[in-house]
């Protein structure tokens, strides 16, 4: 045996390490989980990815440190930035001129979510420096989960589009306020001026990078076709560079990408074709995000008293979003039924919420543990069940081209809408 080991040792070479092997196998498992979930239950693949990540996380696999840092933080920020850049491009600013009620609707649901969650947490005797961050995290619906659900269900229509826009706007508010607030936590200020300058730095850097990103893309599109693979690679490369630069300069990379997408759409109203070209690379990055989020979130300290608090926050958040969307629905061009399904589709939480939570935990080590104990279970629950609820909403709104087999009496594979 010793001879065999000795013989084999001479063939061994330095490798990428055990973590790479673990993550590769985990992604393979997640792929299988996602496919099975879609094939046999009819739910979007993201549910399968998240469940596999959660199971592995519960089993004790700690593939990424908490709060996020290093390569896992960069990968998550890159994935989120890529999707948010594309989501930002779905928000033409001129729409708000024609339909300001959509903006009212988004502000109403985000504000109501923030204050309701803050109120319920304070009512449950949660300290203010914990309640405030959790309320900000709760504001953000997940355009990332929605975009995967929409792709898997081939959903299209007014509810789908409105949900994506409202989720993106809520993410914009949460990222802006969350980044500013965590910066204030990170640099306890003596004066109002100190606080203001800390907020100005994080927002200023994000806006500056967004402007540079959109201008570079605008310049490139003068002579590059949006259909070309090279343009897709350019998008990917520029977003990766902006993610690295923004984080380094003290800004928020996802916020910069989101604002960059919105600015580019404003400067360049021509159709966007490159997201389709991003193809498998983007899908892989997305999948890694969902697995990472659920793996990390599953490491939370789960216990019964906290479960009650988490449950209360989830219920209040869902109600607040429904009431907010409903309040702003008058004159917004959508029916009440559509408003109901839009608010259900706003349920998911995922990587953006995890990033904001990570920022707060890093910035406020005193309250950090408590923030994690509430935020992580909430994010995990809403990543899985939020995706299911969003699928149900698109299905009930008759905007999904695929059947949800759980809901069909005589399930028929494929297109639900006739031959």
């Amino acid at each position: 045996m010793e001879n065999l080991t000795g013989f084999w040792a001479q063939w061994l070479r330095p490798s990428a390490g055990l973590v790479t092997l673990q993550w590769s196998l985990l992604l393979a498992l997640a792929t299988i989980g996602g496919s099975l979930c879609q094939r046999y239950v009819g739910l979007p693949k993201v549910v399968g990815y998240s469940m596999v990540g959660a199971l592995v996380g519960f089993a004790g696999f700690s593939g990424a440190p908490w709060p996020l840092q290093g390569i896992s933080l960069f990968l998550l920020e890159l994935g989120v930035s890529l999707v948010l850049f594309e989501c930002g491009g779905r928000i033409p600013l001129r729409w708000f001129r024609h339909n300001p009620m959509v903006l009212v609707q988004s502000i109403a649901e985000a504000a109501l979510t923030y204050f309701s969650v803050l109120w319920v947490l304070r009512w449950l005797n949660t300290p203010a420096d914990v309640a405030n961050p959790i309320a900000m995290i709760a504001m953000a619906a997940s355009p990332l989960v929605l975009s995967r659900v929409i792709t898997d269900l081939r959903a299209a229509g007014a509810v789908t589009d409105r949900a994506m826009v409202l989720a993106t706007l809520s993410t914009l508010y949460a990222l802006t306020l969350g980044s500013a607030q965590s910066e204030v936590f990170l640099r306890p200020a003596q004066t109002l001026l100190d606080s203001t300058s800390a907020v100005a730095v994080v927002l200023g850097v994000s806006i500056l990078v967004a402007a540079v990103l959109s201008l570079l893309m605008r310049l490139a599109l003068q002579f590059m076709s949006p259909n070309s693979e090279n343009t897709s690679i350019l998008v990917l490369a520029l977003i990766a560079a902006s993610t690295a630069v923004t984080a380094h300069l003290g800004g928020s990379a996802p916020l910069a990408a989101l604002l960059g997408g919105m600015l580019l759409k404003h400067l360049h109203p021509r159709p966007w074709a490159w997201p389709r070209q991003l193809g498998t690379a983007s899908t892989l990055l997305n999948m890694m995000m969902f697995v990472l989020v659920s793996t990390v979130a599953a490491q939370a300290d789960w216990n019964l008293p906290l479960a009650g608090v988490v449950f209360a926050v989830i219920v209040v958040r869902l109600l607040a979003k429904a009431v907010g969307v409903g309040l702003g629905n008058v004159g917004s061009g959508a029916s009440w039924r559509q408003a109901l399904w839009v608010s259900c589709a706003m349920a998911p939480m995922s990587s953006v919420a995890l990033l904001i939570a990570s920022q707060f935990v890093t910035a406020a080590p005193d309250g950090g543990q408590m923030i994690s104990r509430i935020a992580l279970p909430m994010i995990l629950m809403m990543e899985v069940f939020g995706a299911v609820l969003a699928s149900l909403a698109f299905h009930r709104a008759r905007e999904s081209a695929k059947t949800l087999r759980l809901l069909e009496r005589n399930p028929v594979p494929g297109d639900r809408n006739g031959p």
Binding site: G89, R90, P92, W95, H98, N99, R154, A156, G157, A158, D161, V165, S225, P226, N227, P269, R270, P271, W272, A273, G333, A334, S335, R398, E399, A401, D415, N417, G418, P419
Partner: protein, 374 residues
Amino acid sequence: MGLEAFHNSEPLTLGVELELQLLNTHDYDLAPYAEDMLRLMAKTPLPGSVVPEMTSSMIEISTGVCHSASEVLGQLTPIRDALVRSADKLNIAIAGGGTHPFQKWHRQRIYDKPRFRELSDLYGYLSKQFTIFGQHVHIGCPDADAALLMLHRMSRYIPHFIALSASSPYVQGQDTAFDSARLNSVFAFPLSGRAPCVLTWGEFENYFDKMTGTGVVKSMKDFYWDIRPKPEFGTIEIRVFDTPLTIERAAALSGFVQSLAAWFLDTQPFTPQEDDYLVYTYNRFQACRFGLDAVYVDPGTGRHQPLAEHILHTFDQIAGHAARQGAAPALHLLRSDVEAGQNDARWLRERQREEQLLAETSRQAALRFRGQTV
């Protein structure tokens, strides 16, 4: 159900229907917003009507009864403006054009209405491939026999209508080399093409009774003919036009139809006969394929000549009637385009050559429908 009696209508009155594309403003693919548009449009009092079409990314608008092309334009303008306002509110765009250049037929959804579901059950994938967009022009006829006579006289001018309105060069992301590829989709339906050459309403009733007796058709709606009588309106309905990119062109085309009809009624220029149809399919193909560059075979003389030349000759023949109907500006608009060799299909190809992106071509078509200069 028997054939409805031919109702009275005022001769030479016009009614125009336009099937329109609903597009998202992200990648300018078709967007299933018909129900939302109908809900918003119902709040605005308008002269005509707005109704759903076969798939949920289409909508059909129509005028009321009009007496001239300018009245058609006068009714289409507020409907178009209301459509644009509703579309802006929903963050979608509206466009003309006979086909959407790159939509995928299998992604379309049948609008939830019993008749459309029935058709979907009967025709299978053809019903989704029917996501094509046409303009229909109704012209009032003095009586039922006059309607059939007018129908068959109009048949000689089907190539003219096709070439002037052609706006569907792209299908499923490809240049088809046709100016009007839309009509190829219509041809797949078993009851499409030309109407039988009967010139009296009595004979037509016999034909209809025999067809209903076979169980193949139940009503006039089951015929997808290029021109069909519409007894409940007292009109004939011309259905070969692609939806133009602008309402101005749609109104001008209706003015051309009205002028031709006035010429037929006033001068009875020729008597239609079955032999007219010997060249019908060839002429129709030529117009679809080559647009204004097509060859036209005169059914009466068998003479071959450029279609554009025959169109200009026809304009000259009917100029006096057009002036009396107030359609002279309409004919002038069409004439200048024919002289320049221009139609909407050529405009779309020019845009695509410039932009190299069909989605951008669709966006510019949507801007053109709004009345913006592109």
